[in-house]
């Protein structure tokens, strides 16, 4: 069998992919049922959230329960840029304005990841979890009290820019970034910290720097997701960023398998579709969801993929059947 895609230089693959994505968005997307489109877009946003949280919780072994806070920071920063600075750029630069907004969102979220990471990453285990949970809530309450960001009524009039193209471009970039990061010296440092922080430090890994780094990167992508989210709904309210949202992302990561990027992707898609699929039994939906969660934790705590990635699994199956 041919080596196919892998023999082409990455740049070519990327350009081809982007063009294909753009064409899909331009010509196929309008034909798609809007309900399905909504699921596709929200799935994509959740994939970015899950993969970025996986970097912190799965690959680096830190216990972050405040990811929704970073999403909020990014979402609101991006929205604020679009609403307050966007008009100055005019309609012809609308796309550029959107990209800038997303970058601003990711950037501000990254800074918040740094500011929060430095003090909290001294803590271990449960204390770290509690601290991140607390920070997530504090961010939410702070935003809630800022009238310039909509306050209790929510932030409205965010321009609609998010579409299939941008979301899946972000997904591709996010997944590639994380996959390449993990399969590098820096990724190995993170995994070593996860496995045994003391030993990692003894082997020359500056653990604090890397832990904070994973926080910053994870926060940046969460912020990107937030920016996409805000420009999709055209409206933001802090109710979307409570600790429940943080838990939902954590559940995606655990369900997929902590440390497995493919797992996070699969779980994000599954858990975006599931609430919709259960719409028929609306009253029992949450009860079923929580029961499934409990059963899963008891029966298969390592999640679907464990720490393995889909390509590795496929390779070992192929070898076994050969």
């Amino acid at each position: 069998m041919s080596r196919g895609l892998r023999s082409l230089p990455p740049t070519v693959v990327w350009i081809a992919g982007i063009v294909a994505l753009w064409l899909t968005d331009r010509y196929l997307a309008p034909e798609v049922n809007p309900y399905l489109m909504r699921i596709l877009i929200l799935s994509g946003i959740n994939i970015v959230l899950a993969v970025s949280l996986n970097l912190i919780n799965g690959h680096t072994g830190q216990f972050s329960l405040g990811h929704a806070g970073f999403m909020a920071v990014g979402g609101y920063s991006a929205a604020a840029f679009s609403v307050y600075a966007g008009p100055a750029l005019g309609d012809s630069l609308a796309t550029a304005s959107f990209v800038l907004a997303l970058l601003v969102g990711a950037g501000v979220a990254a800074v918040s990841g740094f500011l929060i990471g430095i003090p909290t990453l001294r803590l271990r285990g449960d204390y770290l979890a509690i601290a991140t949970l607390g920070f997530g809530e504090i961010i939410r309450v702070l935003i809630l009290n800022l009238d310039s960001l909509g306050g209790a009524r929510g932030f409205t009039n965010i321009p609609s820019h998010t579409n299939l193209f941008w979301v899946y471009l972000a997904v591709a970039g996010c997944v590639a970034f994380h996959a390449n990061l993990i399969a590098s010296r820096h990724g190995r440092a993170l995994l070593a910290i996860r496995d045994d922080e003391t030993a990692a430090e003894a082997m020359g890994v500056p653990t604090t720097r890397y832990k904070v780094g994973s926080f910053v990167i994870g926060a940046a992508f969460a912020g990107l997701a937030g920016g996409l989210f805000g420009h999709y709904l055209m409206y933001l309210h802090t109710n979307s960023f409570t600790f429940m949202k943080s838990f939902e992302i954590v559940i995606m990561v655990v369900l997929g398998g902590m440390g497995s990027i493919s797992g996070s992707i699969g779980a994000a898609i599954t858990l975006t579709i599931l609430p919709e699929a259960l719409r028929g039994v609306r009253e029992y939906r949450m009860v079923i969801y929580s029961l499934l969660l409990i059963v899963l934790m008891i029966l298969r705590p390592q999640g679907i993929f464990g720490t393995r990635e889909l390509p590795d699994l496929l390779r070992s199956w192929r070898r076994r059947s050969a």
Binding site: P10, N180, R185, L191, A199, A202, G204, V205
Partner: protein, 262 residues
Amino acid sequence: MTGAALLSLEKVSIRFGGLKALADVDFALYPGELVGLIGPNGAGKTTVFNLVTGVYRPTSGRILFRSHPIAGRAPHAIAGLGISRTFQNVRLFPRMSVLDNVRVGFHREGRVGLFGSILRTPRFHDEETSLETRAYELLSIFSLDGFAGANATDLPYGHQRRLEIARALALSPSLLLLDEPAAGMNPHETEELMATIRRVRSRFDLTILLVEHDMRFVMGICERIVVLDHGAKIGEGAPAAVKADPKVIAAYLGEETTDAAS
């Protein structure tokens, strides 16, 4: 044994709460030496290791490496200065492969940054290839290269201990601290380990300080021995002299050792 000491502890003490774990410990290591650190359980041997590697900070006293004070510096910085170690209870990275365990030891040598790694520049590929090659070389010294892809914790215990030493060597240290390297090994494995340590010492130009309870091992391989008891140094010298030292004998008789057959 002339010239400046590579490592010296000067009146090093440390307290944990009300407990004084080490009291005014004084000794030095000279380049190229193979020194043993012995003493009954709880004497403070691993504490000495933890102080030298920066896990603990001494309450008083100085620790000098190449005449520079290192007490209280971060462990990863001390590792960068050329001090490497193994642990009493093997601390490998359990979910990483044998090869990756060693590659983590090369961390400080890597130069390619975040963006080079993400964008997969040619420099990145070159560095990865070079580090991988060197990792295999280290593994082959310990006859572990055949296990490179296996999970570290799937190895038999003796192999794991050897892997830990291989990983420590990836740091290209000048000083290697081995904490009970022969623990849990049968006599045959112990002999092999002694040969490996000697080989490694000359090949990599190392100074070695080791903690061990197996007296045959200690007497067989160490050129000099330092004895601790209840946090204080009670003896120092050539193996034969230390073995006959009444204070040392008394310290060990005060504790029931299972290693009496030596």
